[in-house]
Symmetry: C2
Subunit: 334 residues, 2 copies
């Protein structure tokens, strides 16, 4: 019923080995034979069974990708970068959402390894010892993608969240601001939350601006929490003249809160954030924000993985991709 390589061999009057050769583009086949085989393949509608091939060759040409949440815009962009490069190198992608939950992550890593992926791309929260443990049982290469790794022992490509935050706040400082608020994400989140908070503090410190804990509010990355946080700042007797938000969404919330209070951005209060999402240029005034190369993170990490899978020697196994601050209309001089 399903036609196999053996059927093709018989139909073409050659051996399975020869069929295998033409299917795999092995040059050691007489053109005439090759033609016969192709015709037989065509006639029978033969489709190679990649599972059988995988078992015999110990290569599946698929790589596993564990990602926190594909419905997150930034991550979807990374995923697209991954997939494009994977396709380019003739790999397919098994995609698993793991929501930064350690248990889920460990579980899918094992599933992926059972499925004999040729390599693994890991995006998650922090890489814990338990992760390392799971990675160690792997005989295939693994690269971390947009994920912090304290142990710092696994190939990785990332952006420097702290530096990005630092650069944003620095722009505020350089514009003359001294009273700078921050709308942070949850400090438990190592990348978007804590790292950006650290960047904020670092910039303050280096500018000899004393840290004021009234100037920090923790949000949940979303629009509404940006509004709430800004309302708090506005109610302060000595309110900030500038605000750094950890995400565009919160920044936009902040802007609206400012405007609702009858104030203007950036005349009365400046706002900056990091993300450079589509929304950044779709609000009035347009949001000044720092852009991170999401697609590239995916692309570069997948490219690195292909090299590793191919046992190529790699000059580098750590990449930190550069961000850019995009100056638009929400930061003013003081």
């Amino acid at each position: 019923m399903t036609v196999t390589i053996y059927d093709v061999a018989r139909e073409a009057g050659v051996s399975m080995a020869t069929v295998s050769r033409v299917v795999n583009n092995n040059p050691n086949v007489k053109p005439q034979t090759r033609k016969k085989v192709f015709e037989a393949i065509e006639r029978l509608g033969y489709r190679p069974n990649a599972v059988a091939r995988g078992l015999a060759s110990k290569k599946t040409t698929t790589v596993g990708v564990v990602i926190p949440d594909i419905s997150n815009m930034n991550l979807a962009e990374i995923a697209r970068g991954i997939e494009d490069i994977a396709t380019m190198y003739h790999y397919n992608i098994i995609l698993c959402n793991a929501d930064k939950k350690k248990d889920k992550e460990i579980r899918v890593i094992n599933t992926l390894l059972e499925k004999q992926v040729d390599g693994l791309l890991f995006m998650g929260g922090t890489v814990t010892d338990e992760h390392i443990q799971a990675f160690k049982t792997s005989s295939v290469p693994i690269v971390l993608c947009a994920t912090t790794d304290d142990n710092n022992t696994i190939p990785a490509v990332d952006i420097d969240h702290q530096q990005a935050a630092y650069d944003a706040v620095k722009l505020l400082v350089d514009s003359g601001h001294r009273k700078i608020g921050m709308i942070s994400g949850t400090l438990q989140d190592p990348s978007l939350g804590f790292a950006r908070y650290q960047g904020y503090k670092q910039a303050l410190e280096e500018s000899a601006i004393p840290f004021n804990e009234n100037y920090v509010r923790v949000g949940n990355y979303k629009y509404e929490s940006g509004i709430e946080a800004m309302k708090y700042f506005l109610a302060l007797e000595d309110r900030p003249t500038a605000v750094f938000a950890a995400t565009d969404e919160m920044a936009i919330g902040a802007i609206h809160a400012i405007q609702d209070a009858g104030l203007k951005v950036p005349e009365d209060i400046s706002v900056i954030s990091v993300d450079n999402s589509r929304m950044a240029s779709m609000v009035r005034p347009q949001l000044t924000t720092v852009a991170q190369p999401m697609y590239d993170i995916g692309a570069v990490s997948m490219r690195l993985l292909t090299k590793l899978m191919n046992k190529e020697t790699t000059d580098q196994t750590k990449y930190v991709l550069p961000h850019t601050v995009i100056e638009r209309q929400t930061v003013g001089q003081v």
Copy 2:
């Protein structure tokens, strides 16, 4: 070097068959034996090889998903719905971007079939005869997801784009508007473009409002094209009092164009669209728009596919999921 089922069998002092049974949770194993085997597995760090299992059992517990573009927000949302349900039924997902390009689509369908996926979820542009042809060579079930199918012969879950557009325009009509512009997507696109355009025309027709071709501008779904289109409308001597945009982005562009002209939404001009993206409630005034259940489309289509793969009898193989118009602040009475 890699530990196989045979190694475990030897270590546990049983046969491979028994090991296979305990790994697959076959009840016909004495508890004591089961324990012995588990211990051997633990000791050796055995990990079942899913490829070998796939070859022997002719099931891979993997389904193929072809999607136009995972970095598109709506599609990423669908993908998340797919993956969640897939996980729930212990399937993994091979994800392939195909950009609605027929050639790419056909190619990945074949790759996926070679990889012996247990089923296929197809999202694309229109389903052509060539697609049908490719589907026919499949021995595994296929369901279409958010994809128009003229032949209408394949199981599918979708939303009614035309009806969604119709409902949006109808709200405008019911609010007293007679001069209604449309900012359309490209009419070549069967779903987002043409279908929504048809819905617009249908609503006009049913309300006995003559079609005015000056009132239709074709955009590219993006913010800027919304601005351009609206500028055109504003320059008309008899400009529309309401505008229906095929996407939130274009609607927001339109709103900004209106505001830049010194007019107000909805007092001077009403705006409605379809998408209900995150942005809809992050603009001032908040956008009235029709919401489509993206996550559910993914979830339902995957659920249908699991039934089909399981050879369950399905009461239905066509689903049209309902949309909802979300009334916010951009539509006013005339």
